[in-house]
């Protein structure tokens, strides 16, 4: 069969590449979590459960809990901001719509590190945000805005917001706004028609938005590293510390394995819910 041959021929390069550099490395993380560390910063011989046991400390539980609530809060705030924005862009006149959308896409692609750095200078004790808040008397001169979990949430909302707006816009664009108008004609207040008609109508976009924010948020590393300080550390910081400070790769692997499982949980949950409900393709089809 020619067709079958061609299919394999064009698929094989990426299949091989991604097997080598995605599938095998991911499996390796789980394997190395059970290997001992050697004193030279490499991976030792034999097998051990000590690394897994070492994860059950109050410190790690605190980090896991913080990672979870920071990610959940970030997702919630992103959603609250993205819903009106996605709605407005979808309802804007054609010419404006494309411009607004480009405005959302540009930060999506511009240097992540630079955008985090921009906030670091804004929140700096000598920076404009602090000065402005001091001028209105909201904070005292000794207050610190940087190195606080709130700073982590703020910067995470900032970097993930475009990811949230795009799927909501994509769903809102397909939504039939005459339904909202009909509801208004029948006496619904604006917020009522938004909550009872619009929100259920774009449900799939909302689920995608939640996934594309919550999953990367769980693995955040740069943002807590640059604006969080010790009180804002997340699991990503712990993984990096095990790699770069103590050169303990098995320990880093064990932490990463926990993160992999944490990332899979919401994906599996959505898949199961979909199986139960109507058959749809939120994950496969609509994520940006």
């Amino acid at each position: 069969m020619r067709r079958r041959q061609t299919e394999w021929l064009v698929s094989l390069p990426t299949l091989a590449w991604l097997t080598l550099f995605v599938v095998i490395p991911t499996l390796l993380v789980f394997v190395i979590a059970f290997r001992p560390a050697n004193p030279y910063g490499g991976i030792g011989r034999g097998w051990t459960l000590d690394t897994i046991r070492a994860l059950a400390t109050p410190n790690y539980l605190l980090i896991a809990w913080r990672t979870l609530w920071i990610s959940l809060l970030t997702t919630a705030i992103c959603l609250l901001l993205a819903l009106p924005a996605g709605y407005t862009i979808a309802r804007a006149p054609e010419r404006w719509r494309n411009r607004l959308l480009l405005c959302v896409i540009i930060p999506f692609w511009t240097s992540f590190l630079v955008r985090v750095f921009a906030w670091r200078s804004l929140l700096h004790p000598e920076g404009p945000v602090k000065k402005a808040l001091e001028a209105i008397g909201l904070v005292g001169p000794e207050a610190t805005l940087l190195y606080h979990p709130a700073a982590v949430v703020l910067v995470m909302v900032y970097t993930f917001l475009p990811f949230t707006i795009l799927p909501i816009y994509a769903a809102a664009e397909k939504f039939d706004f005459r339904l909202v108008e009909a509801a208004r004609d029948l006496g619904a207040r604006p917020f009522q028609s938004f909550r009872k008609i619009f929100l259920p109508g774009i449900r799939r976009g909302v689920v995608t938005a939640v996934l594309v924010v919550f999953i990367p948020a769980l693995g955040s590393y740069i943002i807590p590293d640059l604006v969080g300080g010790p009180s804002g550390e997340m699991i990503g910081n712990k993984i990096a510390q095990r790699v770069f400070s103590d050169r303990n790769l098995p320990h880093a692997s064990a932490l990463s394995a926990v993160l992999v499982l944490a990332v899979l949980a919401p994906l599996v949950a959505v898949l199961v819910l979909q199986r139960k409900g109507k058959k749809s393709d939120i994950i496969m089809g609509e994520a940006p």
Binding site: L18, P25, L101, T110, E181, V263
Partner: protein
Amino acid sequence: MRRSRFPIAMTAVVMAFLYLPIIILILNSFNPARFSSRWEGFSLVWYAKLFESPEIWQAVRNTLIIAVSVTAVSVVLGTAAAYALHRFGASRLQRVHYTLIYQPLVVPEILMGISLLMTFVAVGVPLGLFTIFLAHVTFCVSYVAMTVLGRLQDFDFSVIEAARDLGASSWQSTRKILLPMLMPGIVAGALLAFTLSVDDFVITFFVAGPGSTTLPLRIYSMIKYGAPPMINALSTLLLVVTLTAVLLSQRLANRRSGAVKSTG
């Protein structure tokens, strides 16, 4: 009936929130003051300092070597993958293929960084420019494949069949019809791959070795250890490069459909 103004006001707030920090950063790169809360006139002093630093030039060199080679390889791999996904989409093999290609787009970067580091250490590959290249291709392929796939979905395959009926060989019809028609999508994908490679920090941080410092790694160490306002200047330059590539790629990706699509 009056439409509520609230969503429009919120959108304005969101846009200001997205752009103000970047604008302030760009303005500060022209501010000669060491602590950037006061404006002391327009100056290019930080840019001049930047161009005098040999470390920056070394980082620029590394970044470009990686980005150019990553773009070349991921464009070839990504385009072939998109073609396979589109042409044979219904088969079981392609469903596996799609899942694999989709994975780097959702999995947190730190997981890709750490798992690749483990692999390189386990196999004994010395860390450096080559390992960064391998890692970058791994995520760039997915973005290229998705961008080209978007373009393929508008492509009418009956044109190819017509050419074959008229006696063109399979290679001829691919080279003379399919590739030229896909070109805007391929170039858009290439620009995205280039931008992503120039920009990547997290994955690079894990798989870099001694002497393979890239621009984002340089910026990171400047942020962490003493923050001269030179970073503002360097960031502004990086913004200009990525912005140009993104705008070009958006232009190309949407040249025919006219609407801005969310790629990636």
